[in-house]
Structure formats: C-alpha cells, structure tokens
C-alpha cells in the first residue's frame, strides 16, 4: 500500500491524491512518477545509501537544509560516518531525516520498528512518538503490531486480506471492535457461543465449553465474545461480587510478560500483576476462577 502511494507500485484501480493534487487515477489514466510525488518514504530496512556518508544521505533529496535536520535528529556527530557503522536506532534517524529533509507532503513509514531488537524498539518508539508530534504533516505508518500502532497513531485502520475492517482510534478498536479479526488483533480473548436475550439489559451466552455468561451488549445467535485479559480478575476460591461472569477452570499456563503475568484459566486468559500471581500461588494444574463483568463483555458478529 505504501509503495502504491509512493508511486513504486501501480494499483489496478482507484485514486490517490494529496489534497487537490492527484497522483494516481486509474479511471483517468493518471500516474505520477515517484520522483514527482511529494513523499517521504522510510523503508523497513531503511535503504540508506551505503556508499554515501550520513550527511550525503540526508542531503540526497535536495540538500540545502541537511545540517539543520542532522541537528534536529541528534545525528550531527555522525555526519561523516557511513551507514554500515551505525546502530539500528541511528539508522532509523538517518532514514527519517533523509525522508523529511525534502519537506514532503506526507510521510510514509514501513514497519519502522520491526527491524529493531526488543530493547532498541522500546526506546525508539518513544523517540518516534515525540518526533511525530513535532512534525505537522500527515503520516501513514504500516505495522503488524497493534501496540505500536496504538502508541503512535491517532487513527488506526485494520487491513486484513486487503480489506479495511475498521478505521477508528486505538481506544475505539479496543472498546468496540468491529469483528473477531479486529478483536484478535488487539489482543483480546475471543470466545464463541450462542446468544439470546435474557432481560432488557442483558444477553445470555452459552459458550462452547458449556459455561453461561452475560453481556450488556445486544446479541442473538452465533456470536464472538470479546473479553480483554486485563478486565479479568483471578481468584482461587469462588466468592460473591458484582461480576456476573465467572468461569472456573484448570490453570493451563502461566506466562510472565514483562511485569505482568498472563494466566490461562480454561478458555480464557487473564492478565494480573506478578505480585498477585505470586500471592495467589498461580501455577499450572491448579484450579482458579476467572471473573469479569457483563459490562466488560463485548459481543461481535462471528465472521
């Protein structure tokens, strides 16, 4: 998709325009060459020119303000270095500076964080966040990691098999996923069941595993049930509280993810703090109760 916007690939149909400036129109046979489009494209593996210095790279698209951009990206000290000796984070800064030095109309970022190791990634993500705030131009970022998208983007579009499933803010994607695909992408629990209306406010869902849960969403027939791991509370004994939904099950797995622990209880995965996990003595093979509120249970059409 980014290549099509940049003019490196030619779609079969459609229209690409920046404001009033049409770059591609299949119907009217308009096709602007990439060098005639005002884009800044940062490639996944940066595509820095290995035979040029950092300054020469940044100045490639029209060099008057190269030094200014070197300053701005904190890479002035690397001006005469060759790309081969730079670290991943440094290369990304050069690639960004190079793309932006041209003053493009739109910035295209292709998986900007995926060629970095885990440690660098976290740091660079923060840098990128600040950067994107500073520059006032439209940015289109492509990533397969929802967390990255949520951290960096104002609007997120979910593309699966070439179709746009949903276009919304990250919060809306989490709270109101359009379908099971979007829900799976955002890291939710996805259960399957048959729903019917229980009361005016509640729908009852009979899950595949036989449990009965409730949701404040309307639903009928075959549905996908979306519950986020961090909305699930874990207990070793059944106790009464406001949560309508309780699933009892065997602890299938306990996995530490940073400072949090993901526990799979029966069909559902809960996320708790490491301290809680230790306190509750959560371990494989034991039994536990996963409870979550009907208000936190989303129903989506099962595609």
């Amino acid at each position: 998709m980014l290549r099509a916007i940049a003019g490196l690939a030619r779609p079969a149909k459609g229209r690409i325009a920046l404001g009033d400036d049409t770059w591609f129109d299949a119907a009217r046979r308009v096709f602007r060459q990439p060098d005639e489009r005002s884009v800044g494209l940062v490639f996944q593996e940066y595509a820095l020119f290995p035979h040029l210095s950092v300054r020469q790279n940044v100045a490639f698209g029209g060099g008057a303000r190269a030094d200014e951009y070197l300053e701005r990206f904190h890479i002035s000290h690397l001006a005469d270095a060759r790309p081969a000796v730079l670290s991943g984070g440094e290369r990304q800064r050069v690639a960004l500076a190079r793309a932006l030095a041209r003053d493009p109309g739109v910035l295209l970022l292709d998986e900007p964080l995926s060629s970095l190791d885990a440690q660098t990634k976290a740091l660079v993500r923060v840098e990128l966040q600040e950067l994107l705030r500073d520059f006032e131009l439209p940015v289109i970022l492509v990533t397969h990691d929802f967390d990255d998208a949520a951290a960096l983007a104002g609007q997120v579009g979910v593309l699966i098999d070439g179709t746009l499933r949903q276009l919304a803010t990250p919060q809306e994607l989490v709270s109101q996923p359009a379908d099971t695909f979007v829900a799976a992408l955002t890291g939710a629990n996805l259960l399957r069941g048959i729903a019917r209306r229980e009361t005016d406010e509640l729908a009852a869902i009979d899950l595949q595993g036989g449990e009965r849960i409730y949701s404040t969403d309307p639903g009928q027939g075959e549905v996908g049930v979306v519950v986020y791991p961090w909305d699930v509370t874990v207990a070793r004994v059944r106790h009464a509280d406001s949560a309508l939904n309780v699933i009892a099950g065997e602890i299938r797995s306990v996995a530490r993810v940073g400072s949090r622990v993901r526990v799979q209880i029966g069909p559902i995965t809960a996320e708790v703090t490491a301290a809680s996990a230790d306190h509750l003595e959560l371990a494989r093979g034991g039994t536990a109760f996963a409870s979550f509120k009907a208000t936190g249970t989303r129903l989506v059409p099962f595609a």
Binding site: D35, G40, L41, F60, G88, R98, A99, R102, S115, T120
Partner: protein
C-alpha cells in the same frame, strides 16, 4: 601411515599442477638473458605490434563500455519480451570459436558481405584495416564485460533505487548517483577481463583484419608471424604479453582491495550501541 601417504599424494598433485602452469611462463623469461630480451623490445616488429594492440584494444574497450553498459542495465533491470534471447545473444561470442567469429564478421561487414555494399557506397572500408581489428576485438571481448555488468546491476538492492526515486531523483540521476557508484567495482572487473581477452584475440583478428605489420598486426598476430622466422622475437613478444596481462590482473586485485560498499539495508537485528 595412510595419512602421510595421503598428504604426500596431495602435495605431489598440487606441485605438479602448479608447476605445469608455471613452467611455460617462467620459461619465456629464462630462455634468453634479460639484456637480450630488453634489446629485442626495440625491434620494429615488436614496437609496431605493441602500438597496434594498444590502440585497437583501447578503442574496442571504449566501445564495449559505452554500448555495453546501457545494454547490460536494460537487461538487468527490466523483464521484457525476448529477454532470454538477448542474454543468449550477448553471451554467444564467448562460446563461439574465434575463427568462426572472424568469418562471421567477414560475411557481415566485408566487401562482399551483407553490409559490404552499403559500406562501399559510404566510402567506408571496414575489413582488413584497424577498424576491422577493433570490431573483431570488441566482438569477442564484449561478453566478458556485459555479463559482469549485468550481474553487477542485478545485485543492486532494489530498495536503494526505490529510495532514490522517492527522494526526487529521476531514472538517469538515480543511475549515476546510486547504481553506478555501487557497481563500479564489478564493472571495473568486467572491463579488466574484457581488456585482457581483447588484447589476446587471434583467430577473429587474423581472419577479418589480416596480419599487416604496423596496420593490423597485433601482438598475438606478431607472435604467430615471427614463430618460424625469428623464434627469439616470438619469445620476446610473448614475455611482453605476460607482463601486460599480469599488470591488468594486478590492477584488478588492487582495485578490489578498496573498501567495498557493503549493502547495509539488510540488518534484521541491529543493536543500540549509543542512543
């Protein structure tokens, strides 16, 4: 015991094969005392052959580079109808016997050849003069350059070309600012090979250009001509040839020691060393 026998056997095999390659070359220089060798270099047969060789090879090489480079780039960068045929055609002179190439050139460009009457009308005579030598040399040596050029161009990371285009450089600027610098090493290697091959061309040259001393008699042709007349001169020219070719190969080795521009695009896990 077996290991010693094996090691010995290997050593003998290597010694024999290297010796086989080295002996004829060394013998060229040891047959006469060096002073005699140097004295004979001033013989007009030698000097005129050297001039013809250098002139014609230089012109041929220039033609090969000027015409071969765009051809190679086109073949390397585009998939077009008939591409495999074009590649085969470009590589054909490599496997064609030089004598066959010579006859082919005669029937194409000679006075009684396919284009002969056209050339005649234009007042151009192509066969049996230095132009003929240039054509013969270019014909047999071009595949060595073009093949290498195609390989070099194909090895350029497509993303670099794409990056250059998105940064506002058109196809021509991209070629000169990105592709050419990155391929310089490969192209130089191809050029050196084609130059060495062209200098040594015999069959096609003698067929198409004849062996006229001072006009079309290149170094290899001179060796052949002097072979039964003045053997010592033949040896001298051969020795000179070895030095020339060695010089070309050496310059190639030296140029390949220059820092190569490594592809830096592919780095899956780059670590942060400084922020």
């Amino acid at each position: 015991m077996r290991r010693v026998a094996l090691a010995l056997g290997l050593f003998v095999a290597v010694a024999v094969s290297l010796g086989f390659l080295l002996l004829p070359i060394v013998a060229l220089f040891t047959r006469q005392p060096p002073s005699e060798l140097v004295h004979q270099l001033s013989n007009p047969v030698v000097t005129e052959a050297l001039v013809v060789s250098v002139k014609t090879s230089a012109v041929a090489q220039a033609l090969i580079v000027l015409l071969g480079t765009p051809t190679a780039y086109l073949i390397a960068s585009r998939r077009f109808f008939g591409r495999s045929l074009a590649i085969t055609l470009v590589e054909l002179p490599l496997v064609l016997p030089p004598a066959v190439a010579g006859i082919g050139l005669l029937v194409a460009f000679g006075r009684v050849g396919v284009l002969g009457s056209t050339f005649d009308a234009l007042g151009v005579n192509v066969a049996f003069n230095q132009a003929a030598v240039v054509l013969a040399v270019a014909f047999v040596a071009s595949p060595l350059y073009v093949r290498q050029a195609i390989a070099s161009f194909e090895a350029v990371d497509e993303n670099l070309i794409a990056a250059s285009r998105t940064l506002g450089a058109g196809p021509v600027r991209t070629f000169f600012r990105v592709v050419l610098p990155l391929c310089a090493g490969g192209l130089a290697a191809g050029g050196a090979l084609s130059l060495a091959r062209g200098l040594g061309e015999f069959g096609a040259t003698i067929m198409f250009a004849g062996s006229l001393q001072g006009v079309t008699q290149t170094l290899p042709l001179a060796i052949y001509a002097q072979f039964d007349r003045n053997f010592d001169i033949a040896v001298t020219i051969s020795a000179l040839f070895v030095i020339l070719t060695a010089a070309i190969l050496l310059s190639l080795k030296v140029s390949s020691l220059w820092p190569a521009s490594r592809q830096t695009s592919r780095s899956l896990f780059a670590h942060l060393s400084s922020s």
